[in-house]
């Protein structure tokens, strides 16, 4: 499991999106871009992203958490991840 903070989480998600999603790469997705409205993420994309997050951060996302509020932007997703991670896994600073 990675030790993470907000910024490194943002960067990890951004790197994954740029690597896997051509539209994210083309637009140079930022932390505050709306991933759903811009079409960067669709349902299948969310599934890929969920798989990545579960593998990278050692968490399990439930069906109830796969909602627009959590996946709207990289920043929001990162904050959601922080709230899910046990406190010892977070690295401050």
């Amino acid at each position: 499991m990675n030790s993470i903070n907000d910024h490194s989480t943002n960067e990890a998600i951004q790197a994954f999106l740029i690597d896997k999603f051509p539209l994210a790469r083309k637009r140079g997705v930022t932390f505050d871009d709306n991933l759903l409205e811009s079409g960067i993420l669709d349902s299948l994309g969310i599934l890929d992203l969920v798989h990545f997050l579960e593998q990278s951060f050692g968490i399990i996302l439930s069906d109830e958490e796969l909602v627009a509020e959590n996946f709207q932007t990289i920043a929001r997703l990162s904050a959601f991840l922080q709230s899910k991670l046990p406190s010892e896994a977070k690295h401050v600073g």
Partner: protein, 469 residues
Amino acid sequence: MSSAEFAALVLGILGKSVAQLGNGFPELPGLRSSESGSGGETGSHIRNSTDAGRATPRKVSVMFYLPVSRGRNFRPHQRAIWQAGCTRYLFTYARTAMVLRRSDLQHDFSLGVRDGRLIKFVITASTTVGMSIRRANLDRDRDLLLGALGCCLPQGSDPRRFEWLYQRNPQAEAQVWIASHGENGSLIGAAAAFPRELREAGELKRACVLGDFFVMPQYRTLGPAVQLQRACLSDARKFEAFYDFPATAMLPVYKRLGIEPTEMLVRFAKPLRAERTIQRWIKAPALSTALATIANGAFGMRDWFSLSIGDYDLSVHSGRCTEEFNELNISAAPHYSLCTNRSATYLNWRYKNHYAVEYEFLIVRNGSSKLLGYLVYTRGSGNAEIIDLYGVDEPQMLAALVCGAVHRLRADGALTISISLLSSDPRITLLERLGFYRREGCPVVVHPGKQNGEVSCAKWVLMQGDRES
């Protein structure tokens, strides 16, 4: 009560409940891990709540707790239910706490009982954070469903369709799940399972075809769709099999549920007349008409020599399907590993009494007038479609039916004729020999339901007539 206090209360209740359950029910771990959607797979006996309550006098403690992290308040009536001990069953759903209403417990759950012991508890109505899922009442929820279907699915708002498909299905009424917003009650989506009988190597199976799944545009993220389909599958898995022809957008939902497409339904098309294609390329009317006449003549000549109906007696069947269709259904079904039970009652409902589409039957008989097979087709804006092709295992007879349909539809002015078959269907070779070309495909999901055996696709007969969405 603060969130922290409530969390402590929940943990206390949880510990106590588990301790009580542990004494009475050694199979508790299996019980606790059960999820909506897994019902009936391990339980040797599944009953509804009322029956189960009578048959299992042992009581199980109930654990109700709220999603504390969301900071919602513990409402008095929910607390009263717990305190009064009216709720007798433990329920965990994945790792998320659920809040159940008394009404949920009255009719929307089932128990797995083996040797008098409760081994599985399946809630078939669940309340999730911000979303509740319940079984629809087709009479009470009719207008709600019609309105929403009209928004999300073409033709869905037609009341005649609702009555025909949902309420007058000869096998049973449709089972429909409705997801609504927990706070304001607004509709999030719905999913339906339409009961259908299948024959597996001739043996009758009770199955269902899934369809009319929709999520309102404002809720279209993966989570609500997965929860809704999970609830729907919890019912579908009680059948011996279920199948679906999911749209592309549904594939992530199935993937999340751990179900991969089993097969592809592939459309095959054959051009019958050339007017439309030629007019698309040549704008001068006189020239395009002349060229189309030449091309149509060439098409006709080609098929005149290559498409023979042999000595078979073909005719259009305009009346109701009668007992001879039942006899054919029973005699032909063993030749296929899986197909819809095409009884006369089913055929009359599905094709003869269809609420909107006019279907035509082309039938074939042998020398002694015995029914050997039939083909069902429909015409629409120049494109005819064969939606059912069924009969004894005699390739020449099936070829004669298709050839007969081609000749008839060409004479009536159809521009193309198409037919959809599973990609493993052995009749594909026959179609390609008759000049049909492979076109697009759509995924098919078939699940054996209770029997978790291998799904072998060889000699399946699922066609356009078997889908309802």
